[in-house]
Symmetry: C2
Subunit: 486 residues, 2 copies
Amino acid sequence: MTAPERSIDDLVAATTIAGERWAATESGERRQILHAVADALDAAADHLIPIAQDESHLPRPRLTGELTRTTFQIRLLADAAAAGEHLDVRIDHADPQWPMGAPRPDLRRTSVPVGPVLVFGASNFPFAFSTAGGDTASALAAGCPVIYKAHHGHPALSDATATVVNDALDTAGAPAGLFSTIHSEADGRAVLAHPDLKAAAFTGGIPGGRALFDIAQARPEPIPFYGELGSVNPVFVTESAASARAQEIVDGFLGSFTLGQGQFCTKPGILLVPADSAIPDLLRDAALPPGHALLNAGIARGHSKVRDGLTGHPGVRLLTGGGPETDPPAPTLLATDSATLITGFDDLVVECFGPTALVVTYADTSDLLRIARRLHGQLTATLVAEPDDAIVGPLTTILTRKAGRILWNQWPTGVSATYAQQHGGPYPASTTPGTTSVGTAALSRFVRAVAWQGFPQQLLPGELRDDQSVPAPRRVNGVHDPDTLR
Amino acid sequence: MTAPERSIDDLVAATTIAGERWAATESGERRQILHAVADALDAAADHLIPIAQDESHLPRPRLTGELTRTTFQIRLLADAAAAGEHLDVRIDHADPQWPMGAPRPDLRRTSVPVGPVLVFGASNFPFAFSTAGGDTASALAAGCPVIYKAHHGHPALSDATATVVNDALDTAGAPAGLFSTIHSEADGRAVLAHPDLKAAAFTGGIPGGRALFDIAQARPEPIPFYGELGSVNPVFVTESAASARAQEIVDGFLGSFTLGQGQFCTKPGILLVPADSAIPDLLRDAALPPGHALLNAGIARGHSKVRDGLTGHPGVRLLTGGGPETDPPAPTLLATDSATLITGFDDLVVECFGPTALVVTYADTSDLLRIARRLHGQLTATLVAEPDDAIVGPLTTILTRKAGRILWNQWPTGVSATYAQQHGGPYPASTTPGTTSVGTAALSRFVRAVAWQGFPQQLLPGELRDDQSVPAPRRVNGVHDPDTLR
């Protein structure tokens, strides 16, 4: 269903009605339907992947892996939602002696789907953060209908994927109108401003993401806008780690910052290394992989602009790699020192989406703390260190204030979809710090808590009844009920 | 510490440093310190309550009860935080066979305090939603420092309470500067806009609350603003309930809408009753309690203005009570019918903070569904019904989309602080739908999730270690660990 066929009002109205039916569908049935969607996408791989290759310039093995990740994620989220983990069920029995000074009524709290969700597709993950990606999957699994704003970088893939999704939903018995696609920026803004929309999710850059966030917050009824807008993902290499395993660190960093041509939101954009270590020279002399076409012309322009800004800074020099002229851009390492970085912080600590990173040498270890304290919000921050480094304790403490995920001697690219994953951090990493767009905790974004006070059993949702009929872990009078846990 | 003594920058800087020390304090020690604060407030009752009486015009028994509620709430939140319920701890062990298509790293997720929180006091709860009220208690219990913006309606009580709080914090060993008070609106806005502030909480009206929300969202780094802005709290009385127990319903409603002179955010502002029931006449002939002075002149002016607006509507008549002239205002019931309400919805379905409510008669039961569908977000919605009323199922379904708490044959005033309470709903009830300002779930507002990837045991927070040293329920590889549950 594309926008020209009917008005935005009609689209949102149909989505709302479908969402009411979807919310009323048993969680076990929603799970089965979403598994059917995942199966259909797997079965359509040979049809979808060539379209993705053509539109995104990403290599086939990467896209095959991304589709596997996408369908795994749909099943993981569907299973977690059916298990009711995200409902945060709490039951308090009436207590006439409650020491607050007034009797406690019978109160039972669970979570309900928020209603229609607008999902903006991302350029760099044509499957995993697009049509049937994590945001769509978590909204559907949580019981919400979805309007998907296709990314202009892969419109044909978006439509082809949506056809597979909608055919699978129809066949499996989902309500008609549960999932729709729009394409134009104007339609995206109109849906975002529509009074019946209840949440939005976005992955992209700061300027566009902030403009959409502002629309969502300026509505007569502001709504949650789960935006992931950018991250530099700094890596802090201590002296002892650099002494012990310089080549290993160099290899790991080169692999991570060039993976997918540097087009990951978790690409390590800044590497802080001891000035007197072997790492700067090893990097300078390293063989960088060849460049590949970036996702689209806009991404290429953005990369050139930020890279040229960095290169033009008087304290920054080219360490190795392509420099400004090549097309497609070759991986590029720039270099500066920590004093320059601290002085020019806001000009130098910027996301350069693409295969460019900045190597920062330091002579004084305490510069690591100074730099960490200045950071804006990050998706990730990485420590490459030895456990008994004195700097590690205070540095970790500061980084937990700045980032959503802290890594130890690993590299930040490759975000596993798991129960404990946190992909999100303080602004601009996320517009809603503390929420995640990857992993099962992503479900919580699309539900809202409701308490039932004094209700008769037969009118309660199944997860709140004494004779529980919907699976969910339950906390009863403040204590987890072990019989309800999986 | 009041604002003229030093600049806002200095205040926020000192608060930030205190907060870093507080966040590093063991959760058990934080619990003990907060219990000491609660004990000190209880011991200061005879000193504080007369000041509260003088400034708020609320009767002594109400204030005594409110202080009991306040200190109970501090202890409840401190205990819940020390038990780690709000940390949502998740541990995923490394899994080379993770079916996503790539090995799963060791990921361990917990929650960290967000940092400095600005709490705006509310006029109508000089203890429970003010200096040491629920917002302050949940922020402190979650590990955050607090700057408290005193409500202009009770400045002396705010300072007296703050002195008790700060003396208790000092004696118990809390970091200096953990809790501060500011008084002016300008200081409140300046702190809200300060880059180092990380969250704010507010309870009050729509115009002021929305203006503050807008400041928080327009910052270069937007921050969570947990605002409770207003609610009409409609009550839906079915025909069978009205037939079965008209007098009981009348008594319950009169008690609830006049409680505290109607100055509760959960006051039932609209009562929908069958036109042919006995209820309208019983209400007309009821003896209403006498009026008392409202909290302050601003509240009185606001009440008069909204009441006069309702009274001036051509479809609204005075049912019983004070009418527009009395001072202090006497409880007032206005009346209209459901057709008029539907036609003039946005003029008539408004919060009238104070002892005025609107009785709406209906002839067609389906008008209840029409009206429910039109509602904006509510803190509460109440069903006064019989379990086998046909309307109850569809009406409950609609109301769960509109309100944070749904009541069955009870009245919405009197919000119990418990594990399952939900005090918050879609906008304007809350600016952040799904969060609560009452009950232990209020803690979650002031923490942010962080994942540790691949960290050595000794560098992990205690709740994430294999040999767990900080209490918290833990989910391990997606399954709750029964040994970690309380």
